[in-house]
Subunit: 305 residues, 2 copies
Amino acid sequence: MRRFNAFLPGLTMSAAALAIGSSDRDKPPNTAQVLESAQPSDWRRPDPANTLYLELDAGRVIIELAPRFAPEHVGNIRALVREKFFDGLPVARVQDNYVTQWGDADQVRPTEAARRKLPDETVIAWKQALPIVKLPDADSYAPETGWLDGFPVGIERKPSGQVWMTHCYGIVGAGRDNWPDTGSGSELYAVIGQAPRHLDRNIVLVGRVLRGMELLASLPRGSGAMGFYGDEEKSKRTSIRSVRLASDLADSARAPLEVLRTDTPLFSRYVEARRNRREEWFVRPAGHIDVCNVPIPVRDIPPRN
Amino acid sequence: MRRFNAFLPGLTMSAAALAIGSSDRDKPPNTAQVLESAQPSDWRRPDPANTLYLELDAGRVIIELAPRFAPEHVGNIRALVREKFFDGLPVARVQDNYVTQWGDADQVRPTEAARRKLPDETVIAWKQALPIVKLPDADSYAPETGWLDGFPVGIERKPSGQVWMTHCYGIVGAGRDNWPDTGSGSELYAVIGQAPRHLDRNIVLVGRVLRGMELLASLPRGSGAMGFYGDEEKSKRTSIRSVRLASDLADSARAPLEVLRTDTPLFSRYVEARRNRREEWFVRPAGHIDVCNVPIPVRDIPPRN
């Protein structure tokens, strides 16, 4: 079927699997084949205490928080969520090829539990003991890249000794004023375009979207400065129904999902399959991959056999 | 105003200009300041014979075709447009963080003027005489990058002697079957996410979106394989009202716009301002830029003084 195994190849496993013919049996595995060979231990279940459900009219966006990278911000976001701070606030900004931003844009909503000022958490200290999985490929913005706790990272061992989450598609950060310690987590954004890596180490990143990016990325763009909705566009603003921590919900209300681990041999094979695409459609494998071009698979927890 | 000079900086010139204070007068210019210093000769007007108007219910998408890169494809697209081939066809595929694709997905619409089979035009030959402006920064996918005729390019002088347009946000290509000579231009796509540079030299690129990317990027994603709309989602499909060449329209019906030239000293200053962001918000300029992170400004032709 031309429509499914042709044109631009996608990430859909079933579609890619359709392209596998008998002549391919001796080739290195493609993405679909690598994922099909994954064992249950190659997947992990995100901690419900680090999992946010952002409920929009269009559906649920699931965000995994990254406490190792920004513990104070993550703690503050948890406090805000628990006092239902975000409920009813709008998505105030959608700038094409850049970010979707939601929360308390005007800094007017009171909060009892959360702090307004937090330390700068744009980087963490590099240590040998950090369980970073390196991407061997060169990066143009950072000396080294890889993954830590499933999040993409840049690494500069010397001179700064810093590790930071990289601004890839779907990464979530905390909006701020003109200094890195002026964000509180009361306003958050997700990257919806080309990785704005020039923001790395300039602003605190707090997690990434696991599910529902298409809901944030397909919102109408704001026509005001920097993609904010203008006063005449208030009707375009999507309202946040609620934000909840998965750990505050009953088991039955939680989304049963798993994320591919990044610290396994299988993940290395997955990266290799993405680096050199083996699907029939490709005539020239790139032989290279950028850390922001490696999507981390998420799936529903499969039924027990 | 926190809302306009804070949070994440954007591309909006007026917003960035607001952040310029007297203490900044000795600094290198920021993006807004560089653009404000542009002369009329720093801008060019795209050739109407290479300018497509893709009319959707939501508005007009303007595409500049790139005849130097894919002359046969561009010629075929012009022939298709002139017989109104695209009118009434759908946007058939919207895959999140990848592409929006429109045209004759099922290859069923007859055409008299256009060809179904074209030569592979994924690359052009490198020559000293090509007016390429190099980006000095390292690229991770190509030995060298730069711009040619205002389009981003990858360059491999040796061993292949090839130049090709790079898959950046907003670049437009011709969908194809499993071989590079199987696209005809009857189905086109635009990149709506992280640059899929692994597609470079695998598929023919024909131009880029100058205006209206937000219309293509904010369409609802298809839930079928590879982002195609499933049969039960036909109602989500956006219909193409028409596609026309600007040169086939009266002057009064053309959009009066200009594109920043990429072959000027001003453009080099613009790239430098993007490489090291000088806006007050930034605490750490990146000192580097990727060819896909340099948006090429487009503006309305200003009124004559």
